[in-house]
Symmetry: C2
Subunit: 453 residues, 2 copies
């Protein structure tokens, strides 16, 4: 029976002591990553210039559980466990018999789920004597999370921030600087790759691909420095599973079993974090759920892409992985959900989709903001544009349930707040937001002129 | 014995069912408000054009408890109960034997404690058939809270936002608009007072005093409209006491009794909210605490002002109240803690100060940002500049305890997050922040040229 409470918060003693590794429950073993040069299966040493060995071993492990180190759990406690909240006011506004729950990751100091892996990565690096981390950031969510993690463990952090965002989003940059990180606009004069781009295009707005190349070059070139990635790879999915493990216990507190679990998916880390622990129960035959990944129509990797080996980055420096992809040279339309503008999808999420364990849906930009504003006005919380994708589908499910007269139980992931996205909301409110079709060849050319922000 | 937990979160069943009214425990009855024209004690009808009768009765009641209506409690649950968190990482950085706890109100959707009264005020207005609320806002915290409350109860909200802030803080304005409020720059063409100012000064940057005058004129001129105020008055202090009532139970969960309780004070609502329930125990002789209000050196009403009858607003339209004041024509220096730039102090807070129940301290701007950045880097949370005043004194208390080898238990109020204050942090980090002495006559003239933001 459903609890009469609105918020469900775990006691610290019940927070997860291990991350959950879905690889242990997959029907078929995951396809190995390939070395980008030789195209042969990559071995741990291939990753050694970039990542500490503990992270590399997590990338390839088949163990179902990986213990969370004590200091990582302690640092999680600055914001975890995050709440599961029943959206009673939204249910009322929609006049639906459905019960709508959301797991809210916007309570983290960085404003999203990203610190769940940033904290783990920073700690493992610190343990192996690394003094300094480099990374790239577009809109800034990931850079902020790594800057925070660096502050908590006393590591220097250097963030290569896409020039267009650096200029347009000074607040995100300022927040990283408050945490003590050093932030530079990419392309930058700090790497030889950056200098070569600037020599040819002094006013280049930059791109995520360029910023990755700079961060990797910086890390490879210094003994005291490693590189850190915020999505796509297996160890990132692993660290995020604290979300779903908590949610399972919180839905038990609520006295309900979700019929459908919904998350937005860009590189896949938010989606995997919430849904993998539920998907594990499904794979083991313990429970059944519908699990839905929501992506933008403008970057529809799982609904319109192909499942094949591709590069993770534009410059072909990252390992090749088997995933749903729109092609590593795909340039997404400038939608405001910056975290969903990626050509590929986490290999683990891709495999679950390929094997029919999860569903995928694509939605347009304007309907996601419709949903986000309706949510803000009923529940109070301003959602990030990425999260609005999950809200859209959750509301659609609730309306379907109303149509069908069903008491459907819906759980969705609210991956972050939108306090740094208010210019996007202002554009929506003034009617200036566009929807973008998945580009045909002729549109692609036009889009290539648009800076990635 | 102190609990080993880091966060203390109440079950919903234990959240307060009544607000606590400190008037019932005061040694002497509070001095009455005076009508601004006649200077005779104001009667309830004097307030009727501005406020609904339920609020007016709360303004003057002597009852110790005022029941929180069910729909208000339900709306509180969108973000309450707020956590008490032990700042274990900060304790470690300071290497202090003190135990530092903070009550975090930044979890509200508006980012501060302000919705605690905005929600109550909106509901009482709705009950009495009011369709529309007006208010003023400077930096935007209060306007955001009332916009949120209006969205939750289906009331129109019109916010007169000081022109200088309107231009410089578009994000705050956008957030109010997402909640459905209508926001106009003040002085505006929407009121006769605004038009008269604009006729003389077409480029006026506005001031809080002007914005109040516009909001009041608007409310008085329309039958369907009332006015809403976010601090100073007794009913606002009352609504905020949910903070301290929760904190008392949470400190019991933590197994500790605070030696000192600290809050920043501008108009007094954040300070009163946290400390009045503790002060009540002190007044009733049940417990003893040191209670410290922290104000800026640039607007030191309690440490440098006089305790006398004064007007609440520059234009002398608001009732006169007995309070610590720097004079209703005082123009504070442009410190970044916009919420603390007020010439007076809540009459109830003032009386407690006058009767020696609480202490007051004034601190300079730069040391507050020193404290805020140290806090952000150890605890992760970015504090609002107002809250940094409380953090400064909490850290000083912890360092004193270290000096004295004492296990002092410190509780402070973290009234809000600083995600809309990053330009202030950027100025601090780049060394551009100034400290301001309490102005002598010669400085006052120079400051009068500075727009209030």
């Amino acid at each position: 029976m459903a609890s009469s409470n609105t918020k469900f918060i775990l006691d610290e003693s019940k927070t997860p002591r291990a991350w959950y590794n879905i690889v242990a429950d997959l029907k078929t073993p995951p396809a190995p990553a390939l070395h980008p040069g030789t195209r042969q299966p990559a071995v741990p040493d291939d990753f050694a210039p970039l990542f500490p060995m503990a992270i590399i071993m997590q990338e390839v492990t088949g163990d179902r559980e990986v213990e969370i180190p004590g200091p990582v759990r302690d640092a999680y406690l600055t914001y975890r466990p995050s709440p599961v909240i029943r959206a009673r006011r939204l249910e009322k506004v929609l006049d639906t018999p459905a019960h709508i729950y959301f797991k809210y990751e916007g309570v983290s100091p960085a404003g999203s789920h990203k610190p769940n892996t940033a904290i783990a990565q920073a700690w493992y690096n610190k343990q192996e004597g690394v003094k300094r981390l480099t990374t790239e950031t577009g809109a800034g969510q990931w850079g902020t999370a790594l800057a925070l993690a660096g502050a908590l463990f006393g590591l220097e952090v250097k963030v290569y921030m896409v020039r267009a965002s650096y200029d347009q989003k000074p607040y995100r940059r300022n927040l990283m600087e408050v945490y003590g990180a050093s932030v530079v606009a990419s392309p930058s004069p700090d790497t030889s790759y950056g200098r070569s781009v600037l020599a040819e295009h002094p006013t280049s707005p930059g791109s995520l691909g360029m910023a990755i190349s700079e961060a990797v070059e910086d890390a490879v070139g210094r003994d005291d420095t490693k590189y850190s990635l915020g999505s796509v790879l297996n160890h990132v999915m692993l660290h995020q599973t604290v979300i779903g493990q908590e949610a399972i216990l919180q839905m038990e507190m609520a006295g309900e079993k979700p019929d459908v679990i919904i998350g937005c998916a860009g590189g896949g880390s938010n989606f995997a974090g919430l849904t993998f622990p539920f998907a594990g129960q499904k794979l083991r035959g313990e429970n059944d759920y519908r699990i839905v990944a929501v992506e933008p129509e403008a970057a529809p990797s799982m609904t319109r892409g192909t499942y094949e080996y591709d590069f993770g980055d534009t410059a072909r420096m990252a390992p090749m992985v088997k995933m749903y992809t729109l092609g590593h040279d795909f340039i997404p339309a400038p939608i405001h959900a910056g975290g969903l503008r990626y050509h590929g999808m986490s290999p683990l999420v891709s495999q679950l989709r390929h094997e029919g364990v999860i569903e995928a849906k694509a939605v347009h930009q304007r309907p996601t903001f419709d949903a986000g504003v309706q949510f803000a006005r009923s529940e109070g919380i301003l959602p990030a544009p990425e999260s609005c994708h999950a809200i859209r589908v959750a509301i659609d499910e609730a309306l379907e349930a109303k149509e069908a007269g069903q008491e459907r139980v819906i759980l969705f992931g609210l991956s972050g707040h939108g306090h740094y996205d208010l210019t996007s909301y202002a554009r929506y409110l003034s009617g200036q937001l566009e929807d973008y079709e998945y580009p045909a060849e002729e549109v692609r050319e036009a889009l290539e002129a648009v800076p990635a922000v």
